[in-house]
């Protein structure tokens, strides 16, 4: 193994069932259902997936969902706004913990 992440591995995702087919099948069936059009469009779901991919910083997911959002007709502004939403939530999540810090700070201070 020369690198932890190999772009070719993304194509092998479906082979994850090799070691445990029963659970893999359940996962992929669920995955397929999740991304079908429902109360949200497939396009909206793809943009959510792209934003989440950035939050969890998964290079496979960023690769897959950049292509998927393109296929679903999203433009540069739309995909970047999705990433900013991810960024704002991630940054906000850090910052909001500042309240906890302030509470503790005040608790310990005279």
């Amino acid at each position: 193994m020369k690198t932890y992440y190999n772009p070719e591995d993304l194509k092998k995702f479906s082979s994850i069932g090799e070691f445990e087919p029963r659970l893999a099948k359940k996962f992929f069936d669920y995955y397929g259902e999740v991304f079908k059009e429902g109360a949200l469009t497939e396009r909206e779901k793809s943009l959510i997936a792209l934003a989440v991919a950035h939050t969890i910083q998964c290079p496979y997911c960023i690769d897959a969902y950049t292509q998927d959002t393109l296929e679903k007709g999203c433009d540069e502004a739309q995909v970047m706004e999705a990433v900013h939403v991810a960024s704002a939530i991630r940054g906000g999540a850090t910052l909001v913990h500042g309240v906890q810090m302030m509470n503790k700070f005040k608790e310990l201070s005279m």
Binding site: T41, E42, G73
Partner: protein, 321 residues
């Protein structure tokens, strides 16, 4: 490196790959065009001089009778640039066949002599099919040339003004979505819905329906794939997405394509690769329906573009749910 298309058909029991009928005669009136699009499979442009003459057009008119075609699909280049274009369309109209014209929109704005094209189309009840790869200027101009988007919007407004593309109108105006890069088109219905909302809200434009067409890896688009390092990935994606249902409904199984010089092809893409029909009748002047119906369709790696996902043809998806 990639599994041959004919082998893929074998694996799905689809050989021999034969036409079901010949319902549409697709006539390429010439390679001359006022645009030079980056993805053009015809390699069309203002520099191209190949133009169908009147004799060949007459053979095409005869062929409509011999083949009992219900539809003539007129394409190019910009077919309007052929000096006998209007005569040919009127003759088709007199035969009572459905007339599809692949109009690039900007031709309507290109020169004074084309300004009345919308009225001509209406007069002969033409169904218009026009490329608009995106509802914003940047992607459209990146694929079709600088300034094409604004001219296309202006032309669409003129077509709308005389009733084309309006709700419940008999005058049909279809738009074509081609991906602006090395990726496949998404769901046709979803993209149509998105285009309808955006074009209406941003420009007040209406249209009848959207056809999603997969870019076929030949000519300029193939060169783009190779130059950008995307060829392998794109082909892999096409192969992974092979859909036997789409392979059953490809346009080559109900369409015959005629080149500017009268030769016959299974489709417009085979025409551009100069893969003539596998038949003793290879020219429009020798047309024989029974012989052509028995021919085996010539396939190649490029055919994977028509069989990927929900399928792709000159009329959009072929294997929608």
């Amino acid at each position: 490196m990639f599994l041959k298309f004919s082998k893929q058909l074998d694996l799905h029991g689809l050989n021999p790959y034969l036409p079901k009928n010949i319902e549409i005669l697709q006539v390429n009136l010439g390679k001359m065009c006022n645009q030079t699009c980056k993805h053009c499979h015809v390699d069309a442009g203002p520099h191209r001089k190949e133009i169908m003459d009147m004799d060949t057009m007459q053979y095409c008119l005869n062929a409509l009778d011999v083949l009992q075609c219900k539809t003539v699909d007129i394409t190019g280049g910009a077919p309007e640039m052929n000096s006998n274009f209007r005569w040919f369309v009127e003759e088709c109209f007199n035969k009572g066949v459905k007339i599809l014209i692949r109009c690039n929109l900007t031709i309507i704005e290109a020169n004074k002599k084309y300004y009345d094209l919308p009225h001509f189309y209406k007069q002969v009840q033409v169904e218009i099919i026009s490329s608009l790869p995106y509802y914003l200027p940047s992607k459209t101009d990146a694929q079709r040339g600088k300034g094409v988007f604004d001219k296309s919007i202006s032309a669409l407004k003129k077509l709308n003004e005389i009733g084309y593309g309006k709700e419940n109108s008999a005058l049909k105006l279809h738009l074509v979505y081609n991906p602006t890069g090395a990726f496949l088109p998404g769901n046709q219905k979803a993209l149509e819905s998105e285009f309808k909302i955006k074009l209406k809200n941003l420009y007040g434009i209406d249209f009848s329906s959207l056809f999603t067409i997969t870019n076929v890896p030949i000519n300029r688009f193939l060169q783009y794939l190779k130059d950008s390092g995307n060829y392998g990935h794109y082909m892999e994606k096409l192969l992974q997405s092979f859909n036997p249902k789409a392979a059953e409904n490809t346009m080559c199984r109900n369409t015959l394509s005629v080149s500017w010089d009268g030769f016959l092809y299974d489709c417009d893409f085979n025409q551009m690769l100069d893969l003539k029909v596998n038949s003793s009748a290879q020219h429009i002047k020798n047309i024989e329906k029974e012989i052509l119906l028995k021919r085996e369709i010539i396939t190649g790696l490029h055919c994977y573009a028509c069989t990927a996902g929900a399928g792709s043809s000159c009329g959009g998806e072929t294997a929608s749910d």
